[in-house]
Structures are given as C-alpha cells and as structure tokens.
Amino acid sequence: MQRVHSSSSVSAAMRLKKLIAANQALAQVESLSSLLPVLLRFAKDVTNALAASILLYKPETGTLEFSLAINEQPGAAEQIISQKFELKLGQGIAGCVAQTRESIIVEDAQNDQRFYRKADEATGFVTKSILCSPIVYREELLGVVQVLNAKDKDLFENEDLDILESFSHLAAVAMIRSRLLEKKLAQERMQVQLDAAARIQANFLPKIPDLGQESHIFAVSKPAIFVGGDFYDLIPMPDGSIVVCVADVSGKGLPASLVGASLWSKLRSLALPDLSSGELLQQLNSAMYDVLSQQLFATLVIARYWPVDGRVSLALAGHLPPAVVSNTSIQYLSELKGQPVGIDPVVHFGELTITLPVDSSLLLVTDGVTEARNEKREFFGEQGMEDHLRQNPGPPWGESLVAHVESWRGNVDASDDLTVVEIWRKAG
C-alpha cells in the first residue's frame, strides 16, 4: 500500500504555514507574562508534540527553572511547575543544551544517560523523544525550549528541529523586545514621578519678600537633575529682619533632595528671633545629625539682614564664603569658621556682623556656580564669577551671573545644583 501524504514537501509546507502564523501572533504580544504561553503553544503545535516546556535561565544562580509547561496528559504540566525543578547547566537534556548552546534531538530518552528522570517520576509521564533548542539572543542565554513525544510518528526529525530552532530565534527576539518594553515603561513611570517631585520642590522655595525702598533680594535655585540638594530660604522675623539661608546637601538628585527637604523644614521650625545665626546652625546641626547619619553632610550659610540699617549677622557651616560686592571691590568673608552640618554632633560656629554698604551686594552662592563645567571640561570657577562681577556694573549682579553661567556652560548638562541669593542696597 502506498503511503499517503507523508512526503517531506507536504509536511514542510505545513510547518512553514504554522511558523508564519506563530510569527504573526508573537508580533502582537506586548507583555512577557502573556508571551510565554503563546510561544509554548506554538512550539508544541508546530512540531506536533505531546508536551512542551520552556525553562528560563537564571544567570545569578546558573540554573534553568521550569517556567511554563503544556502536556496533553492531564495534570502533568501543573505538577512540573509546582515541583519547581531546577537544572544546573549540564544537567539533563535541557542543561546540556543550555551549556553547549546547541540543539539536541533525543530518540530514546529512557535510555539516554543525560536524561533527567525526576520530572517523569513526579508526573508519571513517560518521555520518549525530545527536541530541545536553546533560546539565545546575541551572546546571552535566555533559556531553553523543549518539546516531547512526537505525536504522529516515533521520533522527531531534523526538519522538526530546524523548525524548533527558527522558532526559538523568534522567541529570543520577542523576549528581548518585551524586556526592553518593560524597561521603557518603568522609565516612563519614573519620569512622571520625577516631574512631579521637581514641581513640588520648586513650590517649597519661598516668595521673595518686599524689603522696602532701599533693600532688595534676588534668589534662584536650579537642580541639576529634576530635584536637588540645594535650597535657599527667606524667613521674615517679627523685628523686621529676614533670615536668609543657602544650603547645599552633599550629592545631588533624589537622595540629596529628600534630606534637603528635611533640613529645610527643621530650619524653619528652629529659626526663632532670639537665636543668633551661629546658635541657629548649632541647633540645626544637633537636630540633623541623626538624619544625615554620617553618610551625608550639608553646607550652609545663614545671614540675618536688617533692612533698616543694612546690618547683617552671619554664620557659616563649611560653605563657600559670602562675598560683599561693590563696583570697586569684592570682599570674601573668609573669617567665618565652621564645618559642615552632619559630621560631628556638637560643633561651634563662628559669627560675624557687618554692615552692608549702600550700592553693594551680599552674594551667597553654592558651588554649582564655581563648579559649572563647559564642553571643554573647564570650570567656571571663582575667576569666572569675579570676572563677571568686575565686568558688569551693579548692584545687582545675581540674575546676570546665573544667566552668564548657563550660557557659558552651553549644551552640557549641569553637573551640580546651582543656587544664587543676593541681597543689595541701593539708594531708594
């Protein structure tokens, strides 16, 4: 009797049709969790097998884990998964395929030394023939796909293996695609949060108060990455003075900004009229020592200003010394002593009282100004700042200084948070 329709060209055409259908279905799938079951159903269908499973490779343990299984014998698939079998590289047929990254056809599993028997023992399924192919993307091993027990014949053939291999290539691409998609989604979610955080931080900054005819304030703070560790505060006091603070928490980004928010609120709660600037820093240091838990520090400068007569009472914690600037001189208040907040639980802070002359400014900046870098990796530096102050008449100088730093920086991303606060007196 003549054999009917088992010629390889007919089965090849059938296989090709199934592979095309599989590719189309895979292209539709968006999430990794729905991808693998679809993949597996097609693997089993395309090779006309009784059972199929996908094992995923875990690089951190160097093992393969059964991730999904289909089996026409009822209950077998569920048992394979619930037993959480793990194969090391080189263990079982799947382990050998994962190790060598080469497909294997097994004609008689029961008599093959490499075969891992525990799965059959658990399910009662009797594995006869196996087709196993690695799922590899470029150099990375993602896992292994295997199909068991050819349905319409005794053994799998090379054509079946070819199909399974083409199929596992498709699977690798699809898995990488969905991994990239998940990463992109996670990044987008993060971006939304960062945008919200940046808006909130901007709202923390106080409004610029009116200091009367003669005295003015300019203040700006720009984080390097969405949110930052710099902040300024302007706290009006009942006696008409204003406590000005510029702070810089070490580092940048989210961690620095969280600590900055805590520092800011602590400062607000401690700033009482009968405290000197040095005492305020001392209390702030004690209060923040635990929060900073010796892993972060903050530099600050406090300047309490009386618009009525231009008096300023200052204290400083490891911060860049403030400058008194006029059209004829730049004077840094370097005699202010005090180390950053958060290093030692008890610190003494030096104090200084000066009078800000009319037609001059007190300029408080963070190192975002001096450490600004351009494309040639040059620093703006104190020199850049002094050049700007000397080459431009004032007061004021603060706003134009910020603009100058930003244009000087060019297209390079800011490397640090930048803050400038300026108090100036001009004849009304």
Binding site: D248, S250, F297, T299, Q339, P340
Partner: protein
C-alpha cells in the same frame, strides 16, 4: 582592592597598604567607591592612608564618602590620613573646612 569604572577613575592599594585614588570621583561612581572603601576598612587595621596625588576632581558626594570612612575608622579607634593631594582637591577640603579632619 582594585576597582575602576569606565576610564575616569581608579583605586589601587600598593604593597605598603596605601590606598591610591586617581582620576575624577563624582556622584556617578561614589556608591562603588564607598562600598570598596568600607569593605577595605573592615579587612585592615591601623591608620588608613590615602594618596590622592592623581585625583583631579572630587565632588560633594565623594567628600561625603571620605567623611563617612573617617567616621567608621574613628569609631574603631583608628584614623584616616591623606598624604598627598592635588591643589584642586585640597581646595575642596579647605573650603568646606574639613581639611584638619584629614591631616591636611
């Protein structure tokens, strides 16, 4: 302990146990440096000596790592000493007024 990331920074320990840091240290690499330095402190005894003669840049997060490392050492009755430093980096220690903590 030898660690380096990209091409910009490196840490090496020489035969006499001096820790040499080179290149530029900023917030993108400080977590690695922090982990390496704290682990090294656990494995050693006595004064930790740092040679920063090849370190061209240090940002505030890097400085925070040194301060934290020093704190760990002081808690164990040890110290940290910087034996060599570039002018740029020395300025950072001086401006923040922590230079004396490190023997500078």
């Amino acid at each position: 302990m030898t660690t380096s990331g990209q091409e910009i920074w490196s840490i090496k320990v020489d035969k006499s146990g001096i820790v040499k840091m080179a290149g530029e240290i900023d917030y993108t690499v400080t977590p690695k440096i922090r982990a390496g330095l704290l682990a090294y402190i656990e494995k050693t005894q006595g004064t930790l000596i740092l040679d920063l003669s090849q370190l061209n840049y240090l940002d505030s997060s890097g400085l925070a790592v040194f301060i934290e490392a020093r704190r760990h050492l002081v808690d164990k009755g040890r110290t940290l000493q910087i034996v060599s430093v570039t002018p740029e980096v020395k300025k950072i220690f001086q401006l923040t007024q922590v230079d004396k903590l490190f023997g500078l």
